[in-house]
Amino acid sequence: LAYLREVDAAPLQPATESLAASECAAVDGIHESLFAELWRDCGVAGWGMGRDHFDRVLLAAALKHNFGLDPGALALPVQQQAFFRSLRLPDLVLAKACAEGNERAWEHFIELYGQQLTHAAIAISGNETVGRDLADAFYAELYGLTTRDGERRCPLDSYRGRGSLLGWLRTTLAQRHVDHYRKSFREQPLADYEEVAAPGPTLETPVNSFAPLAQAVEDALRSQPAEEQFLIAAYYLDERTLAQIASLIGVHEATVSRRLRRATDAVRKQLLRNLQRSGMSRRAAEEALGTDPRDLDVKLDLKKLLQSSHPNSFPERTISSEEVPEAAFPKDSLSNKDPLSDKAAG
């Protein structure tokens, strides 16, 4: 298709929306009538966006996510059509128009999302003042007041139409708030600095006795599927309720409870196996864990272990075996939670 190649020749955003020659081959199967139909349906003409621009935006979104397929997979025409139809095209067009500075688009954006964004910021921060500050700062960022290399930058450019624009705004607000908190929660006033900095009595903990156990726990957790790991982390570390977890992953609370129990049993069995593999007898391994597998949560700092178990995610922070005994008996150790009791409470 000739017009697609022209689109490739004039990328909107060189960094993110340029189409490589290899990627152009992937769009050969896209039928022009589909773009024409999408162009008609989404009412893009109201924001002054041309047809070529619209096609480029769609292709950039498709190629960024490879039509929702694994990287390197070639999308069939049916898969391409399904991907395009799953996009929130009106939101995508509005976001692009706002990113390009269309005043009418901004008015419409403020009318649609202005109040909701403020409420979302207040809900995320838990404080009205902080929430309004967060929302105002985010407005300024969205409007493109920040520049980089002399070029106006707008976060709305990164929106590709997967999921609603309002959800994207909320998630972005949440990211801003979490990042700000993680940067600032260590900051304390100077008046309190001396008290905090004053050295206290160090807790003498056995260092080497838990090293095999920490390694065994890490291996046991990693051996679990991703969703089970997420369930354990969300329930035992983040202390989310079964209802919150269930609504997040889209299953019933009973399913979350059942899968949590199954994952806990599997972790315990794998932990025993790992300990025996490290040289312990079965009896010694059971004594190390105790008879109740939930003692594992009490005796080990799973939170820190899980936080630092993915070196790729946190390259700047890696766990060492010496850190584990340090937090083996934390003061705010996780309570001995039972999924069933939580379910009953929820």
Binding site: T16, H65, G68, L69, D70, S86, Q115, Q116, H119, A120, A121, I122, A123, I124, E141, P155, S158, Y159, R160, R162, G163, S164, G167, W168, R170, T171, T172, L173, A174, Q175, H177, V178, D179, R182, A226, E227, Q229, F230, I232, A233, A234, L237, D238, R240, Q244, S247, L248, I249, G250, K303, L306, Q307, S309, H310, S313, F314, P315
Partner: protein, 401 residues
């Protein structure tokens, strides 16, 4: 936002949002889950985004104009009560269905009961209004007639002033007797059901137990409703004021009709004989000699005034003797040469209401010919006396079998 850094370490905002909105394909969702299992920051972002998706509704509602609260469906509060309510509704429904199922059976029984006398009452359909009073209660007394039968009868009942449809429809089958006009015709129709129609239609059953039962049943029904005089009045045997002259004009016809009336109202012991009498009367009515006899009788009885000044209620003539009964029950005799009425002293009980000459065939066939009485007299109790000469009367006895 540093997108490059974010994409290297954490999933981008759009992917996290798509994860919250369940809009990710399976493979990408698995990748996000694997990352979030070890990334508390992304889990926190996802939790907050999800919480903000629910939270903003509250301030929005607070600032919005007082919108009415969403109404819960009124059945929502019945969640717990649904089970007993459904069970109760099921029971009520079953009871209603059971009642409705049983009701037609009871109605069917009620309809079947009156259908037993229906064959007797069926011929009474084309009756005038006056005769309805005599016949209808008799049929209704034991058991009410079914509605559908009543509905069939009602449209066929003519108004009082209208001519009886029986004279038009059934005169052919009745022969010359049915051609009588006025009182005679209606009286015949009033008594017709039992003797007139049943006898010719079921000649083989005459004298049998079935016929006796039918007559007995009919008698019982009729006697329960009316006194004998009323019965005779309604049947036309006793003439009343205005139609006495017509009654006299149709005297001969009335004599024949009274056989039917007697047959209908006679005691059970004489049913067989009366039935035979009715049969013979019908045979006589259909004979060729009857029109001449009727003409003579009509001419002679047209204006018969008795010595007490009253018109004769019933007149019978045989072998030169004529016997008449006035409305008061007095009986007079006149013999051919004398040409003068002689009062006959009552030798019977009650009041004489009818006198008639016995048919020739009856006198010569059934009863022994030489000693056969010429006349018979019927009182208001429907008892019969017979006389050989018109002067001496004896109670009638059943003929020897």
């Amino acid at each position: 936002m540093n997108q490059i850094t974010q994409s290297d370490i954490h999933p981008d905002t759009e992917s996290l949002n798509a994860f919250v909105e369940q809009a990710l394909p399976a493979a990408e969702r698995e990748h996000i889950l694997a990352h979030m299992a070890t990334c508390s920051r992304c889990r926190q972002v996802v939790y907050l985004a999800q919480q903000a998706g629910v939270g903003p509704l509250e301030p929005a509602i607070a600032t919005a104009p007082q919108a009415p609260p969403p109404r819960r469906p009124w059945l929502a509060s019945w969640r717990v009560a649904w089970i007993p309510a459904a069970a109760l509704a099921g029971l009520v429904g079953f009871a209603v269905l059971h009642h409705a199922w049983r009701a037609p059976e009871q109605e069917q029984v009620a309809r079947n009961v009156p259908s037993q006398p229906a064959p007797v009452a069926a011929p009474t359909q084309p009756e005038p209004a006056k005769s309805d009073k005599a016949s209808a209660p008799a049929t209704r007394d034991k058991a009410p007639a079914p509605k559908d039968q009543e509905a069939k009868q009602k449209p066929q009942s003519p108004p009082v002033a209208a001519p009886s449809p029986l004279t038009a429809s059934q005169q052919n089958s009745l022969g010359p007797l049915g051609t009588g006009s006025g009182r005679g015709g209606s009286s015949y129709a009033g008594l017709a059901p039992t003797a007139r129609l049943d006898a010719p239609q079921k000649p083989s059953s005459l004298g049998g137990p079935m016929a006796a039962n039918q007559f007995q049943q009919q008698n019982a029904n009729a006697n329960q409703q009316q006194s004998p005089r009323q019965q005779l009045q309604s049947a036309g045997i006793i003439a009343t004021g205005a139609n006495r002259k017509e009654e006299a004009a149709d005297k001969k016809e009335t004599k024949i009709q009274t056989a039917d009336a007697v047959a209908a109202n006679a005691p059970v012991t004489t049913q067989v004989q009366i039935a035979q009498l009715a049969k013979n009367t019908d045979e006589l009515a259909t004979s060729e000699a009857l029109p001449t006899l009727r003409a003579k009788s009509a001419k002679s009885n047209k204006a018969t005034i008795l010595p007490n000044g009253t018109a004769a209620l019933s007149i019978a003539a045989a072998e030169g003797r004529t016997i008449a009964v006035d409305p008061s029950g007095n009986v007079f005799l006149i013999e051919s040469p004398a040409k003068q009425w002689i009062p006959i002293s009552p030798q019977w009980t009650g009041r004489a209401i009818l006198v008639r000459a016995r048919p020739v065939q009856l006198r010569s066939g059934i009863v022994s010919a030489p000693s056969a009485p010429l006349f018979e007299l019927i009182n208001d109790n429907i008892q019969t006396w017979v006389s050989f000469d018109g002067k001496t009367w004896l109670p009638q006895t059943m003929p020897p079998k």
